[in-house]
Amino acid sequence: MNRQRIIWLVIFLVGAAALKVLLPFPQEQLHPSVVPEPVMLIGGFVVTNSLLITLVVDLLLILTVIGATRRLSLVPGGLQNAMEITLEAIMRLVRQTVSGDEKRIRWFFPFVITIFLFLVPANLLGLMPGFGPLGILHYDRPDQHTPQGVTPLLDLPASSVFQVPPELRAVAQQEEAKTSSEAEFVPLFRAPSSDLNTTLALALVSWVMTQFFGFRHLGVLGYLRKYFVFDKLRRGIGGLFSGKTKGVGGMLVFGVIDFAVGILELISEFSKVISFTFRLFGNIFAGEVVLLVMAFLFPLLPLPFYGLETLVGVIQAFIFAILTLVFMTGATTPAHGAEEHH
């Protein structure tokens, strides 16, 4: 990357930050909604603003793919080099975690890297200018007026895909919208990660694949043995019946403990979905709320938080990917008791 490109990049970033910080925003945005707002109606399918941006993320990634692989060469440059560095870094991490097991590297790597590559733009796009203040105004009754601080950018024709009927819009606010004297403002853009559907979808994919790899690698019984631990309990009871009383007491006690721990692990396995979902959503959504509140307090105040949120976005993407890797590795590692019998 030459100096001129770096200068342009810096100008772009600073400009984006300045735009984001200085743009007026609707007062209504001070009540940020957890629910993604429907912004389009395409063939009966309600597209939310976060789904729209998910498609933008897809587009960005596909453009990256094209840019990185258009002129593949042994001496990489630009985008190819950047993507190779990312891939190799994640690959090294995966290799270290599964200690060089080629089969599991092949299994885990696509998930870990795709989660990371998808989440970085998904987390960071919310920091772009236009996220928040740009939106659609819905005039459901003729006497409704434009809310304060909102400048309608264009008049949408009644037949446009952006005209979503009120009954399909934010369910929770429907009653309020009917009685409000102001037109309803719906932001057009929303970072995918500040929508629980996105984070839950990723968590489910990660979790289901973790279980799948666990069963596949250890066998059905081998995997279930991690959570239903009868080994010591069975030996203790067996000892009780055969009359060999020596050490049976300890065996029984530890057997019960092992069994309880196994059940706890089973419960914690399911709780992973929830922690995955809400960790990412909470971090990104809260970051946007913080920026909004700071912008409301004073025009330049969000700047330090802006840098912080950039960091949080990348770190959360990394954490999601790494936790997926760690859970997958854990699921494919045999239980301790089983290992002893091998």
């Binding site: 993604p36 190799e88 890297i113 795709t114």
Partner: protein
């Protein structure tokens, strides 16, 4: 779940989106790039191995050259030494011959000188005899002469001769 905005169609849309994205990236990004990285690794390994081979060959060749150079140098040294010895011998011979010749010339010169001297002596004696005859004749023709004068004349004559 409704209050949190989670709804099945959106959730499924996101899952499908992720799966499709994964397949696309796997096919068009990870595979080609990882292949490229692998190819580069093997190519670099090859190049390094080649370089090592070439280096070893060069080292072997250099050692051979040095050996040859050393041999050539020794040969040259020997040739010089031989030539020096030869020239010394020749020089000594020449000097010896020159000395000999000089001695011969000197001896011949001495002999010549001796001969000349003797020759001169003989001639001188002859002249002396003739002169004494002439003197005698003169004296006799001149008249009487006493013993004293005679002796004086002879004496004078002899000393003249000696001085000559």
């Amino acid at each position: 779940m409704d209050k949190l905005g989670v709804s099945l169609p959106w959730l499924i849309a996101q899952i499908i989106n992720f799966v499709i994205l994964l397949l696309i990236l796997q096919r068009f990004l990870y595979k080609p790039l990882l292949n490229m990285i692998e190819k580069r690794r093997s190519e670099i390994a090859n190049a390094l191995a080649n370089a090592e081979k070439v280096r070893q060959e060069a080292a072997a060749k250099q050692m051979e050259f040095e050996k040859q150079l050393e041999a050539a140098r020794r040969e040259a040294q020997e040739a010089i030494a031989r030539a020096t010895a030869q020239s010394e011998k020749v020089r000594q011979e020449i000097v010896a011959r020159a000395n000999e010749e000089a001695a011969q010339i000197k001896a011949k010169a001495m002999a010549d000188a001796d001969y000349e001297r003797r020759q001169a002596m003989v001639e001188l004696q002859a002249q002396v005899a003739e002169l004494s005859l002439a003197i005698t004749r003169k004296v006799l023709a001149g008249g009487a002469i006493n013993e004293m004068a005679h002796r004086q004349l002879v004496q004078q004559f002899l000393s003249d001769v000696e001085r000559a």
